[in-house]
């Protein structure tokens, strides 16, 4: 019998909006975003809030409440916001996923309702996954509260939780309805979190945009000093490059397209080895350092270029080494090398690692030389060792 051919394309569209004080009663951004669905009557909305954000902004829940009162035609809350712990650890337990799903069920949140998540990457990943699988997908608006989520994970199309000890083992590709970046949330970040997200900007600049890299270098002092304007510029350009990459030929990575994952194969493993005491961005900075040195050892990058990147990372305040990088498995292998296998398995297909040909230009390779990895690690370890007294 004749084969039936199915062939269609699903269009997706969303905006990444920039604002300040999203829940000030006079701020129209959220109301305008919701109005894009052209529905009549207030939308049913459920908020999920990162407990870290709620603590840093003690009036946030009250502001949300007043905002909904000030915009009764735009939205109504189905229940008080669900406050959940943030940080990667939150993605290791199914309990938080269950809490969101249970609220979706209890409060009748439907496919035309909205789940609005406010928080760091972990809470957004978790809430996004719940929104993606409940009723086969509830509309989801992300309000990223960290540099990392505002310039990278939060503006993309992925969500996920960890399982079987593996990062993002469970998840989907599910474009959000909108992303709203509120710079106010950045003011209360710990220094670690302020800095952490900068590594993703360095990453994308290194493989895609040499001018952006120069801009980061130029602003490095300001960024380390928490200059908000420099940070806003950095977030905007990084988010833009991220969004452009996703909008390329294979947004859901169904073929052999790769995510923007320079420096990430080691980073994922380091996070896990550190039991998530390393922030993702901190692990990425170390992963970048490792792959930059490796690129130099492979003869792709000059030593001057290598040092330029390592210096920049240090100027931004990043460590280039962590003991987990040299950790060995019981059989004497480098634990981080295991990460290579897991990285390949998670993405599927042939192993593909991004290296650097020059600053601003990435190059994919399909083989990693373990001896060179060891050399690169040794070099980074040496760099962090205290200088001899005579040189202090």
């Amino acid at each position: 019998m004749k084969t039936i051919e199915q062939n269609f394309a699903v269009p997706f569209r969303y905006g990444v909006y920039f604002t300040e004080n999203l829940f000030a009663p006079s701020n129209q951004v959220l109301a305008d975003v919701l109005a894009q669905d052209r529905a009549s009557g207030p939308r049913k909305v459920m908020f999920v809030v990162d407990s870290g954000v709620a603590e840093a902004h003690p009036q946030l829940l009250e502001h949300i409440h007043h905002y909904t009162l000030a915009h009764p035609d735009a939205l109504q809350q189905v229940a008080a916001p669900l406050v959940l712990p943030g940080g990667e650890e939150a993605k290791n337990s199914k309990e938080h996923l269950q809490a969101i799903l249970s609220s979706i069920n209890k409060f009748g949140v439907c496919r035309h309702s909205y789940l609005i998540a406010i928080g760091g990457g972990a809470v957004l990943d978790l809430a996004g996954f719940a929104a993606a699988i409940a009723h086969r997908g509830i509309r989801h608006i992300r309000v990223p509260s960290t540099v990392l989520s505002q310039n990278d994970s939060g503006v993309g199309v992925k969500n996920g939780i960890n399982a079987f000890g593996k990062k993002n083992f469970l998840g989907t590709f599910a474009p959000p309805f909108a992303v709203i970046n509120d710079s106010n949330f950045l003011l209360t970040l710990e220094d670690r979190d302020w800095r952490s997200g900068i590594s993703e900007a360095v990453k994308v600049a290194l493989i895609k945009d040499a001018a952006f890299y120069q801009r980061i270098k130029q602003d490095a002092g300001k960024l380390a000093q928490r200059d908000m304007e420099a940070m806003q510029q950095l977030i905007h350009r990084c988010a833009e490059l991220h969004v452009e990459h996703i909008g390329g030929p294979d947004p859901f990575e169904l073929g052999s397209s790769r995510p923007l994952d320079f420096g990430h194969w080691a980073a994922h493993k380091l996070e896990q080895l550190s039991k998530y005491s390393l922030r993702h961005g901190e692990a990425v900075a170390i992963g970048i350092a490792l792959d930059v040195v490796y690129s130099q050892l492979q003869g792709l990058l000059t030593e001057a270029e290598q040092d330029d990147v390592l210096d920049l990372l240090q100027e931004l305040g990043f460590e280039l080494f962590t003991p987990e990088l040299a950790q060995q498995t019981p059989d004497g292998q480098l634990a981080v090398i295991q990460g290579l296998r897991e990285f390949r398995e998670h993405l599927g297909g042939e192993l593909t690692i991004m290296l650097l040909r020059q600053i601003g230009v990435g190059e994919e390779v399909h083989h990693v030389d373990e001896h060179l990895v060891q050399q690169a690690i040794a070099l980074l370890q040496k760099k962090r060792q205290p200088q001899p007294l005579s040189q202090v």
Copy 2:
């Protein structure tokens, strides 16, 4: 700061193939389907098999094993097939989902590997959900083993499991890599399952294709007598209409598009009320009968048309009534009416129910008159009551 606009379309393409004896060593269908990915070397494949199918086809696992031996360049099994219980009940427990995910983890099934599920709609829904969320999506091939799954659910883009007592509360839209319909599996179906899937064909014929409806009427006797050729024709046309509908403007039902769900609002609730002792197709036949009578009571359909449909359903061997249809809640409401609310909530947005304007032409309405529903149920109940003795 300037809003960043994301805008892309994700293309999906898959074939619904028809064959007989899929795992005969000389059958090229599966090997050809796998070759579409243009990878080199054998694909890693994990099979999930419905225990009902494995029992009805005791040599199936052996045939699969020999097939892989006969096609070493096309595929290699990562492990022995995972055999899981079928039937809607299997979708109520998270244990089976966990079993599939655990195997995916244990055997290193990646995004470029294949999960091939063989079974009825429930196993396909379950395995499809696992495939959709592991590593954010593993390639999934469906081998539907029942009439219902070969002509309807199995050829579509949805998967899911039940949660919070609600059908398909968790799931995603995830197009399969391919669907392969093997007519051999139909030979061993129980009569209930053979018949059950016919109701979806009646459904789609009634709302979309009057000529197909006439064809079903013409073949009704053959279909009731398990004529394979008539069944194959029915499956092919039904699957084709299903595939066409999905390929329409809104495959993932992101806007207000509706699935082909005539007769389904009551059916979902009846299944649940019967604790899934009613087959989905049996519940759909009753749901169709209810909405056909309702359409007539509303003045949309003539009595002659109504009786034509009810007669056809009975000729095919379906019941038009089940006690659950008249079941009341503690506060004296019809339990099935609750299903209306759940139906709206699951699909989202405004309540939309498909009725019939004439045979072959559906019409959407947004309000349901509960009194007319009660009248329709009473009429169906009367029809099933034994005829007075004088008429026997």
